[in-house]
Subunit: 172 residues, 2 copies
DNA sequence: GGGAAATACTTAACATGTTAAGTGAATGCG
DNA sequence: CGCATTCACTTAACATGTTAAGTATTTCCC
């Protein structure tokens, strides 16, 4: 009952190419996604060996550099949304990698900090991580990498202004 | 060495800065993540208005350009993992946006194609999407955008070769 | 002072990312 | 032919992305 797959002529044939668009594989979002995945593929195995996900690692790194932070601040630093962060902090706390205590001046806020165990784990993971980063830098070229990051920053910046105008613009 | 001045003493304060690492916010993965998020933030509202997620849209776009494809091929094109694709195809089929039929030469393979309704939906979404892309291009600069994409492609390429060394199990 | 509004999270619900295991259909090879 | 292996895909299980709603606390303002 099935028709030959190579036969383009079937009654209700779902036509393609009816909607003209740029070449899909060359869209900016895809380029960014693929590049990032190529990079993360280098790091994930190392993190996984230590039972850490990419996001958990981001949080630990962020905490290691800022001593202690409120959840909202941490979300901004680690570039995570509140709900994701909430869940991850719950898990990291259960694993004793972080510590929390509610701020005395404002019971709504909770201060998060990395624990001794967390620091120990970081010390275990960081060397390989740095080595991998160095390898990437060498392969791609340090100067080129800096250029790329500069452009990425500019892209982010030039689009961020759009959001502001979105929020402010028409309230019809 | 790194002594913190004048901070409210908190008993067993977990020390930070014990693990030296690059500045977190300037890591390549973060740069790529933020840039991509900045870009996608521009597109998501439009997609959402039509009940489409980013990934569903990727699949429709991929299908529109290649007429019909096996699931594995589609996964590669839309840059999705098999399990994600499996779920999404199930949902898109339930919404009659795509069609499937098992290849008669190989019952394991199923050919996926976009439906008439799918094409109609694309025609509805594509104009805004293209307009947004044009806006981004104008803001950032067409030449610069091309440069950026070129660099992203090179990055992907120079890291892809690393994976090959992972697959050293020579399969001839 | 006291209630409305804002703030700082947390939960909930659904969709996807990610890895591992499962299922049914071809293939390779004795 | 028979059967282990491979292949194409699907399910399962857990973690995160994303938006909306909920909760507790604080601030604003009369």
């Amino acid at each position: 009952m099935t028709k030959r797959p190579a036969d383009p002529a079937n009654g209700n044939a779902p036509a393609a190419r009816h909607v003209p668009m740029r070449d899909f594989s060359r869209s900016l979002p895809m380029s960014l996604l693929r590049a990032r995945e190529a990079v993360m593929r280098q790091f994930r195995p190392n993190l996984r060996e230590h039972g850490l996900t990419e996001q958990q690692w981001r949080i630990l790194r962020a905490l290691a550099s800022i001593e202690a932070a409120e959840v909202t601040e941490l979300a901004r630093t680690a570039f995570l949304l509140g709900p994701s962060l909430s869940r991850i902090l719950r898990d990291l706390e259960a694993r004793n990698l972080i510590e929390r205590k509610t701020a005395k001046t404002d019971q709504r806020r909770s201060m998060v900090s990395i624990s001794k165990e967390g620091v120990k784990l970081m010390a275990l993971v960081a060397p390989s991580s740095e080595a991998i980063y160095a390898e990437i830098t060498q392969r791609f070229g340090a100067r080129k990498l800096a250029e790329l990051q500069e452009m990425l920053g500019q892209l982010e910046l030039c689009l961020a202004s759009t959001d502001a105008s979105d929020d402010v613009a028409d309230e019809t």
